[in-house]
Amino acid sequence: MANESIIQVDHLTKMFKKFTAVDDISFDVKKGEIFGLLGPNGAGKSTTLRMLSTLSRPTKGTATIGGFDTVKNDTEVRKLIGIVSEKMIIYNRLTAKENLSFFGSLFNIPKDTLNKRIDDLLELVQLTKFKDAQVGTFSTGMRQRMNVVRALLNMPQVLFLDEPTLGLDPQSSVEIREFVRKLNQEQGTTVIITTHMMLDADLLCDRIAIIDHGKIIALDTSTNLKKIISGGDTMIIKLEIANLTPTMVATVKALSCADAVTQENSTTLHVIVHGEEAFDSIIDSIRKTNGKITSMANLQPSLEDVFLHITGHEVRDSADQKIKQEHGPGKRFGAAPSRVR
């Protein structure tokens, strides 16, 4: 039954007034899979997740989970799923234990079973010691661990995670990632995770859907996605130029062989190019503007490069700002210039 699909998404569309946040997407998720939705701010990741988890009603199209329609059989769907959304679903004035027993009681789990499960879950994320402390006193990492086990109270077959490592330090991010992986391997839980962090997607996901402007523009395993670059005549070049000027960057960008150009720091350029002449024309153009190339390397493609290659803009542009601005109902920060609303 390895290839049986547990989620089927069919032409799903969500419009807010005239603005299309999710634009006619279709995909299947297999049972036991970790499925990633990768995209910049405002791509429509959260909106997709909210529709799948019955929190938002699709404008068009359908989605089924475990065979149940998310609109017509929402109650059945809710029994199968757990959600860790962008905002923490935790009451700060309640203790860890009170939080879990409140949410657990909404699932009609018998009291004894629930209490046992709460103890187990708290143990699992090393919060047993703090079970009678108010969650408001916890660190962000602890609260996110609470938030994740809260979603597991009903032992869901499908777990939705919306940017679960956002705002966490690297240590806590690793903990959450490992926890999700363990859950997936030991319980066979299907996981749908949205992120704009390449690392999360790369390390965790079996398959990744790259979503931008509400559309899925690529869907495959991480390895296969990277082959889009390494398999074709596309290359990633890192250039060190001692006297790098904005004019040089502009010149390189103007080249027909350059798909995406990013300046990493005052002396480093990151360029995705295609074609046999690519190396030559880049070196030529830099020389013409009196640039001194101190080193040049041909890199292994990362997911980020794949994203750049496909969309022509960077995920990080917006992602970095997101952390600074905190997250809220997604205004699109630093969006691609081509974006039409």
Binding site: S56, R78, I83, K87, I89, I90, L106
Partner: protein, 394 residues
């Protein structure tokens, strides 16, 4: 989903909300302080004759006497002093002249004054009326009226005594009957002497309890939506009705706690007595809540965030506070306001509560109010539920 699970879920949600409420120390303190302030402010500031004391009054005595005898003005002043010793309404100081008196009033050093003219004794002794001049600060009509009232009262008593003394030679069996043939006695429905607190306490109670549900509900729901915790309930197999019901129960609980606090304050500090059944009082409060829930839900459905919810509630609350007959008798308003107040459930709740608390009324005497409240509540809820359902799915 059975009715039982719907109720179970709503009780759990209510319990959760109340736990949060009790853990919020500051909120809890405000819960008690707010009605206390309201009672104190409204109760003490509202002018009523019985409560004003210590008015500064200047006295000018220019009486030249009659045949060197100033008995008349002196006995008048002694009489005034005697009455004032009981009421403590006035604090009297001697002032040298009428000009000085007026000057002091203008400067605000004293609030009014009495002037006995030079011919006072002479007029009385020669069988004419003795005139006394009252000087008052007309810029403060409230105080001015009080002083006039107080002094007029004193004068009446004194002229009566003087008249009785004068007619005695007529050999009447009851001199008072000759001087003042009519006597008026007023009798209330209940014993005792209700104060302004008795009037406002029921109104404030009705208002606080009903408002706390009407404002509390939208704020509580929009807050959970904003923080994101609402999703946690929405994603569980829970009927939307449970969420609404649970929140309503919690807010009603909060409102009733406030109601009890007000009642305790009214009885303990302000000397309000409850004439009717206390059970009926609480039943009325609950009915008031019921009549307001629908309105609260409608507001909840139309407001996206907490701030808007709060603003909207304030806007609705303000006219209701004043038009619902809480602070001022409705009969005292212009006709168009009276008409508006007829459409406010608060009007009926506070009127019914007042009848029960002050007049000791039972269910038969407040049946009109009961019917209006029930009908209003049912109609509003019937409107609110479909609106709420639409909002929740979006």
């Amino acid at each position: 989903m059975t009715v039982q699970t719907i109720l179970q879920h709503s009780f759990r949600i209510a319990q959760k909300d109340l736990t949060e409420l009790f853990r919020n120390r500051l909120g809890l303190v405000l819960l008690i302080v707010m009605p206390l302030f309201m009672m104190i402010m409204v109760g003490f500031i509202y002018p009523s004759n019985g409560t004003i004391t210590g008015l500064q009054v200047g006295v000018v005595n220019e009486d030249q006497g009659y045949n060197g005898n100033t008995n008349a003005s002196l006995s008048f002043l002694m009489g005034l002093q005697g009455i004032n010793n009981q009421t403590h309404m006035l604090v009297m100081t001697n002032v040298s002249s009428l000009a000085d008196l007026k000057d002091q009033v203008q400067r605000g050093a004293i609030e009014g004054g009495i002037m006995i003219p030079a011919n006072f004794s002479q007029s009385l002794m020669s069988g004419q009326q003795g005139t006394i001049i009252i000087v008052s600060d007309e810029s403060n009509p409230q105080i001015s009226a009080t002083i006039k009232g107080a002094l007029t009262g004193v004068f009446n008593v004194m002229s009566q005594q003087l008249a009785i003394h004068n007619v005695r030679p007529l050999n009447a069996t009851n001199s008072l009957a000759v001087v003042q043939p009519y006597s008026i006695q007023s009798q209330g429905v209940v014993n005792g002497n209700p104060s302004y607190f008795d009037f406002i306490a029921p109104g404030i109670m009705a208002m606080t309890v009903m408002m706390s549900v009407m404002t509390g509900l939208p704020v509580a729901i929009s807050q959970e939506k904003e923080v994101g915790t609402m999703d946690g309930m929405m994603v569980a197999p829970v009927n939307r009705l449970s969420i609404l019901l649970g929140k309503t129960i919690a807010q009603t609980g909060r409102g009733l706690i406030q109601g009890v606090i007000i009642l305790a304050l009214a009885i303990g500090i302000f000397g309000v007595a409850i004439q009717g059944s206390i059970l009926l009082v609480f039943a009325l409060l609950l009915l008031g809540v019921f009549s307001f829930v629908g309105l609260g839900i409608v507001v909840t459905s139309f407001t996206k965030d907490q701030e808007t919810a709060q603003m909207l509630m304030m806007t609705l609350m303000f006219p209701m506070m004043f038009l619902g007959g809480v602070f001022f008798p409705i009969q005292q308003m212009p006709w168009y306001m009276q008409d508006i107040s007829k459409f406010l459930p608060l009007t009926y709740a506070s009127s019914a509560l007042r009848k029960v608390m002050v007049l000791g009324a039972g269910i038969p005497q407040i049946s009109t109010e009961l019917i209006v409240l029930i009908v209003f509540g049912v109609v509003m809820i019937a409107i609110a539920l479909p609106v709420f359902k639409r909002m929740m799915i979006r």
